[in-house]
Symmetry: C2
Subunit: 562 residues, 2 copies
Amino acid sequence: MISFQTSPDQYKHWKLSIEGNVAKLSMDVKEDETLAEGYKLKLNSYDLGVDIELADAIQRIRFEYPQVRAVVITSLKPRIFCAGANIYMLGTSSHAFKVNFCKFINETRCAIEDDSRHSGRRYIAALNGTASGGGYELAIACDEIYLVDDGNSAVSLPEVPLLGVLPGTGGLTRLVDKRKVRRDRADVFSTLAEGLKGMRAKEWGLIDDTFATSKFQAAIDGRVAQIVNLHSDELSQMNGTGGSETDSLRYVGVKLNPLGVETTDDGREYEYVGLVLHRDKRYADLTVRGPKAELPSTPDEIQKLGDAYWPLRAFRELDDALLHLRVNEPEIGLVCLRTEGSIDDVLSVDATLVANRDHWLIREIILQMARALRRLDLTAKSFFAMVEPGSCFAGNLLELLLASDRSYMLNNPEEAIGIAVSELNGGALPMSNGLTRLQSRFIAEPEKVHQVLNVDAQAGGRRFDTEAAEAAGLITFAPDDLDWEDEIRLAIEERTSLSPDALTGMEASLRFAGPETMDTKIYGRLTAWQNWIFQRPNAVGEHGALTNYGKPTQAQFDYKRT
Amino acid sequence: MISFQTSPDQYKHWKLSIEGNVAKLSMDVKEDETLAEGYKLKLNSYDLGVDIELADAIQRIRFEYPQVRAVVITSLKPRIFCAGANIYMLGTSSHAFKVNFCKFINETRCAIEDDSRHSGRRYIAALNGTASGGGYELAIACDEIYLVDDGNSAVSLPEVPLLGVLPGTGGLTRLVDKRKVRRDRADVFSTLAEGLKGMRAKEWGLIDDTFATSKFQAAIDGRVAQIVNLHSDELSQMNGTGGSETDSLRYVGVKLNPLGVETTDDGREYEYVGLVLHRDKRYADLTVRGPKAELPSTPDEIQKLGDAYWPLRAFRELDDALLHLRVNEPEIGLVCLRTEGSIDDVLSVDATLVANRDHWLIREIILQMARALRRLDLTAKSFFAMVEPGSCFAGNLLELLLASDRSYMLNNPEEAIGIAVSELNGGALPMSNGLTRLQSRFIAEPEKVHQVLNVDAQAGGRRFDTEAAEAAGLITFAPDDLDWEDEIRLAIEERTSLSPDALTGMEASLRFAGPETMDTKIYGRLTAWQNWIFQRPNAVGEHGALTNYGKPTQAQFDYKRT
């Protein structure tokens, strides 16, 4: 079983160091500390375990070191930054594992960009040596790329020429869409196994600058100092120079403690999230329990409560449960999303979050909730939301219902069953395509978004009973008491009987109506092509390029093209 | 060998009839008239041959019957509109053929929407019976869908539940992006083998209306009359009632005669297009020859010249050559694009086209050129443009260079070698994503588009010699006389040695920077997922759903999902 929980004291492959307003993430992969047997992580190549540490480090910087303004990503290995995903690991992995591996790496890269865009931390890739394949893809997820000019170090994407697959974690899309490298140059670069060095790489826009070995460290330090100086006003506040006690507390980080989880044969129990696996029926129940009443409502109190604060804890648990389902429970094809708790208490949390969204901690909490929900959108399993008495699909938890492929809401006038919207449904938790889930739902009738969001502030949120929810178009089906059990059972049986591949492609198409962004291009277009290629005999067949990499035998291709 | 040329008198499966301003396209598939052995085209199911006729009919309506304002697509079979792609044909086809099949069908559907959007013809799907799978996808490419309410007829997308593949020709994307069906309803509909009938289909937005059998024909006729009446002013002009001799000629169609093509073992010679196949080296030379000097410059003269007019003939030939390469020459992985002729003469044609772009025929010619160029963008082979003395990559033909993955331009000051832009490069020939190829090229520096397009009207177009072209960023490489031969040879050898699948995925990612549209979502996201699924054991393996369709055996799935 692969665990996604770690912490800096457990890192094997990365060193996280904080100096004032600068974080340094140094890659120093231990070649024998692999997640599986059969390969060595040479030359700072990585497997999923290496990226789990990186994802954790980025998350921790955001919560534990809010004063950080610049993050330098570099390597402790001489002459090599990072050689990308380990090829022997890929060559010996199942198709499902390869897909999961690429998706998680993509999410970590997008998390870097999310931090940069929304929290203003600047990511600097300090390439002290060659960055190839996934190594360059990590660099290109950063804001700025500097490459040492030592006559040898290069940036490269050798996947196409050497391995017969794509750079699978966003490289091609970011080449032309983020760095806007001219498409013919991107074509040349992506077919050039040895890549490009120094000035040519700069001229083509692949890096931002290049410095001789002797000047490299000073140049990076200089650039980092510039970034920190740009923020000096903000930082003097952050560092508590002057201001009240509240101000000095303001930028103290919040420690992310390990999530307590009790594991049984057929499930996982976190504090607020429960997962029950029905493996024989290939579905799971995933329940999120709402907050307790009267949670703190000021940032100071929340900061003191730290990671025990419900929205942070519950969505970290949800995130972990989703990753567990993806990687450790591949046979589970359908997840029934459920909630338990008080709608009032969820809406009260949302009111606190909205009122304090300019505070760094509240902002980070909301951004983390948004990332967990996007993880759900991008999970290649079906999701059905089940609304029953005692559930609390309100505000932030209503997003679970809106993210689902379908929803079922019991229609029983004798019971109190409701869902509710809050201001958080209006924009704070966007999908990868930039739309809210309400906008996505009502793409045919945009005015309905406003109608539904027409929140009555006094009541703390607009509520819908089953008939109102159905009339508003918020739910899919509203079976009555007599039909409920049979209808749910049949829906589950039917869904889990269908081709898992066809469902994956169907859901990837139906979940993302409307605009596309760089993120959705990476998860849609690029990932789909990569998945296709990963399955092809030309990559993974007996004579495929991935199979034969590093062997004395050469790849032999079926050259058909269309 | 599959031929893409046909004409109404040769149609086996469609009847095209024109009455005044209305065209009627009636599907009546002959089950034994198949392109290959081993299947029967029952229930108006189709193979590539059926769609080649449809594509031809749509093209002909645009050129031969410009007065048509409404196109009704219906079926001559009782109780069935169209059952979609023939499953047994798919089950027995190679992966490459399935990919080509879906792509061509997609292009035909997009051609319907192109006609509707740019030429204002309204397409009415008159579903006199069930439209399932590709049958419904044909309907959803139309502007309006009417379904008979006979207690039995339905619309459906049974691919996921019955076949374990996707509706592969745009259905899922058009469901949520064009008809904007709510995503949870789209999910239910796309997993419901029997589909939806009458009022429910209307309520969910899958059709526009439904009429009882006895009233169906009258309702369609009524709607068509409405459309024609909307255009009555325009039509009285078109029909030559009143006005000069010029006016009455104005809306006389231009007949599309068969393309003359001389076929040899290693090539094809059209009038303006030559194709030389180097099969042992897996590449082809595709040469477009420019126009003769002093072509007519008024619409009337052009109309009299008809389909012999260079831009129409040359781009129809280019289109046919591309389709031939895709379907009949799968082992050709690289196409070297070349041109021969006078830059002046190409620019002169562009000046005529631009000056008369409001004339229906000139508009249709430009739109046809744009479609042929998009066919090139979407061809899964590499394209290199080769600029040598005597070539004429100018204006409309410069698009060939801009569409290429790379370009090579000889740098020899002793020879006259040039390329040139014209106003046509400024917007008339957009890619599927809505950008011009110049915008796509200079996505990092949008101001360069204007610089390059800064046409000197006196000179009839701005020209660039090799050094100027390189400085302007219009070409990739400019080898000199000494290096040229070796460099080209090595580039070709290298390209054709790489994994064809990896190149396909790479090119699909690098060619389409920037925005995505419904078209690019269909060719990118949806097609890539479909290609992936088409390759999976769950579809095409021994126990796959496609393999076992219609057999007593049942599909058995590997249920892993991520």
